[in-house]
Structure formats: structure tokens, C-alpha cells
């Protein structure tokens, strides 16, 4: 249900669209000049529902969000996804939804989108590598999709899988982690109103490097939990296998809630640096649950966050 969630980020604090559009127009224009033709940005707006969010943070601009990505299917360098993800075919796209549900099957993107209301969600994003961003996502609550397919009472977890296409993803020839990329959530986490499936950002369709055409966004967990380019969602009764947890369970727990007191074994998580601040950007203190403690803290009542990380 759209509009259920009210965050403390304000729509008015998003970089005005004309500001970054002008910049893109300039870039596109210079390219167009070189080609000897005139071209403006022909973007298809998603017309997502605007929501009145409170804000203490400033969203990153389009360039930062779309040029600095971790999407190892396209290479391990931050710039690789922006360079190579265009090879991914995102239309047509179907998501296999199966497991402990009433209506399993292949759901096409049009079908999924026809039954939800897209809205803007301005979320903090905290990467496990100690950098962060603020992103104005466009998406819908995962709960809406799960309610539609009918979750059975025996389901306890949701497992997700990214597309695995060696022909389109140059990075998967190297086994940096075990492919396909997999992630998982506990059912109550998946049903939480903060958890969304995003299909765009800045009111534009999702760029491939950010996980087109549909990705998960769980703002209180480290970024790698927010799995990209999802092709499968399964409702299961056991804690699902996840990619980074399989690679190193000590470093990447199943929950992976943002927690300044729980160090990554190889680095401290006390501080982070917001991308886009230039060469002299300051370190800022990391917040428990990435600042969403009020909304999600109760999900983990009684749990030892250092043990069950």
C-alpha cells in the first residue's frame, strides 16, 4: 500500500530535477554537438507518487548514484557496472515467484507493475565498505507483491536471486563470489513497510548499473543485501543461502544490519563517508540500523546484534 511509510527525509531536499537534468543536458548536448545533431534528454518519467518526506540529508546527484556501483556481475571496479551493464537485456523481464505461496508462477514486469503504485522513497544507503549515499528510489513495498501472491503460514524467509547471464555479464566468468548472486530476508523484514522493490530512481527507470529493471532496497542493512536485477523470489521455511555469507560468514552475516558497534573483521564500521564530497570529504558517524532504528528496531527485540550480525 503506497504512502504507508513516512520517513524523516524531505522531498524538498532532493537535488531539484532541473539541476541535474541541466547537467545531463550539457553532457548529452556536448556529445550531440560532436555528432552534428541536436538531442536533448528524452527521458521517460515514471510519474511516481510524491511523498512528503522529512529530511536531514541531501540526496546524491544522478551522476554519483549511477557511476559508483558495486555490481560484481559486471566487474569488481566501481566504474565497471556503468561501463558494461548496458549489455543486460531488461525487457522483457520476468520474475519467478515460487515456494510456499498460493499463486506461484512467472510474473512479467508489466504484470507486477500493473498491480502496484509506484512512489518515491528517499533512503540512506550504507555500503559495507564504509561509503554511503542518499538515493531517491522509485518503487513499491515488497509486502504488496507478497500479499498478492499469497504467502502461506509455513513461510519464514524470502530468498532472492539475481539474473545469471554469462553472455551479458562479463564479470561472472570470474568466481569472485558464487553465482548466481543470492540474498535473503526474514519474512517480517520482507513485509516491513520500509522494504521496497525499486524500479527507478529520480523518477526515471532504473539504470542497468543500479539493478534494472527491478531490485530490492532494504535501507537499514548493508548495501549488498539489496539485491539487484531480481529474477527469482522464493518463500521458504529455512534461512536461505546468501552469496556473501557463503563467501565469508564471519564477515557477512545473514542479517547484516548496519551497526557501528559490530566491526567487519577487516575494518571498523564506526564511521562512513558520503560519496560525492570530493577529496576532503569528512568521515561521519554510522548510525545503528543506518538511522532507521525507530522503524525497525522492534524486529530484533531480544536479539544479540553482535552475535546475530
Amino acid at each position: 500500500m503506497a504512502g504507508r511509510y513516512k520517513s524523516d527525509l524531505k522531498w524538498s531536499d532532493v537535488t531539484p530535477k532541473h539541476a541535474w537534468m541541466n547537467r545531463r543536458q550539457l553532457i548529452a548536448g556536448s556529445g550531440a554537438l560532436a555528432l552534428g545533431s541536436i538531442a536533448g534528454p528524452a527521458m521517460a518519467s515514471l510519474a511516481a507518487k510524491k511523498t512528503d518526506y522529512g529530511a536531514d540529508l541531501e540526496p546524491n546527484d544522478w551522476d554519483a548514484i549511477t557511476s559508483y556501483n558495486n555490481f560484481y556481475e559486471f566487474g569488481t571496479d566501481k566504474g565497471d557496472p556503468a561501463t558494461y551493464a548496458h549489455a543486460l537485456t531488461t525487457d522483457p523481464w520476468t520474475v519467478e515467484i515460487d515456494g510456499l505461496i498460493d499463486n506461484p508462477g512467472s510474473y512479467g514486469m508489466e504484470d507486477i507493475l500493473a498491480n502496484v503504485t509506484l512512489e518515491e522513497r528517499i533512503y540512506r544507503l550504507r555500503c559495507v565498505e564504509r561509503w554511503s549515499m542518499v538515493v531517491p528510489w522509485v518503487g513499491f513495498e515488497l509486502a504488496d507483491l507478497l500479499n498478492r501472491v499469497g504467502v502461506q503460514p509455513s513461510a519464514k524467509y524470502v530468498s532472492f536471486e539475481t539474473a545469471l547471464r554469462p553472455d551479458e555479464m562479463r564479470g561472472v566468468s570470474q568466481n569472485v563470489i558464487e553465482w548466481p548472486y543470492r540474498e535473503g530476508l526474514r519474512l517480517d523484514e520482507a513485509m516491513h513497510p520500509l522494504t521496497i522493490m525499486a524500479t527507478g530512481l529520480y523518477d526515471e527507470p532504473m539504470p542497468n548499473q543500479n539493478g534494472a529493471p527491478i531490485r530490492l532496497v532494504v535501507p537499514w542493512k548493508y548495501g549488498y543485501k539489496s539485491i539487484k536485477s531480481v529474477v527469482r523470489i522464493s518463500l521458504v521455511d529455512q534461512m536461505p543461502v546468501t552469496a556473501w555469507n557463503t563467501y565469508s560468514p564471519r564477515e557477512y552475516g545473514f542479517y547484516s544490519n548496519v551497526n557501528p558497534d559490530r566491526d567487519h573483521p577487516r575494518w571498523s564500521q564506526k564511521f562512513e563517508r558520503k560519496v560525492g564530497g570530493g577529496l576532503f570529504a569528512k568521515q561521519i558517524p554510522t548510525q545503528l540500523f543506518n538511522g532507521y532504528e525507530e522503524e525497525v528496531g522492534s524486529l530484533y527485540a531480544g536479539m544479540d546484534l553482535l552475535e546475530d550480525h
Binding site: T76, K78, W131, Q174, I177, Y247, R266, W267, S268, Q283
Partner: protein, 217 residues
């Protein structure tokens, strides 16, 4: 004259001071790029990684000077000191970027050095460089005598291993690039090992290169 003699003649004409002068440019260029957006939206990490990788490359090149002469016949001995000092300069730049721009907070710096193995290892490599750079002058060479000086400068081997381990240990996921650097480091050090030489491996390699260079006469 063989191709290798040509190369040696050209190298011989390059004065060592030129290496110091040229070496100053890459870090300055990276810094300029970082200030003007050329290193992307997160220039601090980019600058740190670029200078770190450059340091590792020059370090390996310095290690390659002796095998290059003994096996291939290319003589860079005259420039080895400059290469070593430049390695130190790059490592120092890398360290300064990490301290001043990246971690910034003094308590965090200290915590990182003692608690994070990849930082501990990197720092150990840096510390082992200090006595070497301090004695990279003719005065120290005379004072210590060639035997002791040489023995001391074998610290290059452990510090090179620590340096490439530092890169391997910070990688996320199974990445190949750091392992290639570590492999090259081990190979270059192994070439000095007597047992390795007894097996005539170095001689065989050397034989190949001699034949190759003779055929290009």
C-alpha cells in the same frame, strides 16, 4: 651489437636523477585529477588505490633489476637505488592519503593499525623500508661496508612480500589481480634462492634470452 646491448647503452645514458624528477609527476597528476573530478565521485579511495598500486609496481620493478641483469642481460643496476627510493616515496604518499584524507580520526588510525591485519601488514612493510631508505646513500654504504649493507638491504624481500600480502588481504571476494602481484613477488624472490639456481632454472631462462637476443642481431 645485440638488441640487449642497445638497450643497455640507452639505459646507460639516462641519469639517475631523471628518475627522481619523473617519479614526482604521477602522484601530482593523480592529486590534480582528484581535485578536478577526474577520479570519479569517491576520489579519496581512488587516489589511495592508484598510488598504492603504483608503489607496488615500482617495488616489483626494483626487485626485478637483479634477475633482469643476470638472466636477461639488461643492466639497470645504476638506477636501482633511485627506483628503491621512489618506491618509498610512493608508499609514503599512499600512507599519507590513508592517514590524512581517508581515516582522518587519530584514534581510528591507531585502532586500524593494531586491529586490522591488512593494515598491520602494510604498516610493517613501510617500517621495514625506513632503514633501507635511510642508508640509500654512498656515505652509509661506505660506513656499513658492502657486506653489511647488502645483508641489510635483503629486507627488501620480506617487505615486498608484506606489501603484496597487504593488497591480497584487503580484496573483497576472490579477486585475481592481487594474487598476480603476490605471485610475481614470490617468483622474483625465488629467483635469488640458491636451491632454485642449482636446478639450473635461472641458467635455462638465461640461455633462452641469450639465444633470443642473438637471433635479433
Amino acid at each position: 651489437m645485440t638488441a640487449i646491448q642497445h638497450i643497455n647503452q640507452t639505459i646507460g645514458r639516462v641519469p639517475p636523477w631523471l628518475i627522481y624528477v619523473v617519479a614526482v609527476f604521477p602522484p601530482c597528476w593523480f592529486l590534480y585529477q582528484g581535485l578536478t573530478g577526474g577520479l570519479g565521485v569517491e576520489p579519496i579511495k581512488a587516489l589511495e588505490h592508484k598510488i598504492g598500486e603504483l608503489a607496488l609496481q615500482i617495488l616489483l620493478f626494483t626487485l626485478a633489476v637483479r634477475p633482469l641483469r643476470e638472466i636477461v642481460g639488461i643492466n639497470l643496476l645504476k638506477h636501482r637505488r633511485a627506483l628503491g627510493v621512489v618506491t618509498f616515496f610512493y608508499v609514503l604518499c599512499h600512507l599519507l592519503v590513508w592517514l590524512v584524507l581517508d581515516v582522518q580520526i587519530l584514534s581510528e588510525i591507531w585502532a586500524d593499525i593494531i586491529k586490522r591485519p591488512y593494515i598491520t601488514v602494510g604498516m610493517a612493510s613501510f617500517l621495514l623500508m625506513l632503514p633501507l631508505v635511510a642508508t640509500s646513500n654512498n656515505f652509509s654504504l661506505r660506513k656499513l661496508g658492502p657486506k653489511r649493507w647488502n645483508a641489510m638491504h635483503r629486507l627488501m624481500y620480506p617487505l615486498a612480500l608484506l606489501g603484496s600480502m597487504h593488497f591480497v588481504m584487503l580484496a573483497k571476494g576472490k579477486q585475481i589481480e592481487p594474487l598476480i602481484y603476490l605471485g610475481i613477488t614470490i617468483f622474483l624472490i625465488a629467483l635469488r634462492w640458491k636451491g632454485f639456481r642449482k636446478k639450473n632454472f635461472a641458467k635455462i631462462l638465461s640461455g633462452w634470452f641469450t639465444t633470443a637476443s642473438n637471433t635479433t642481431k
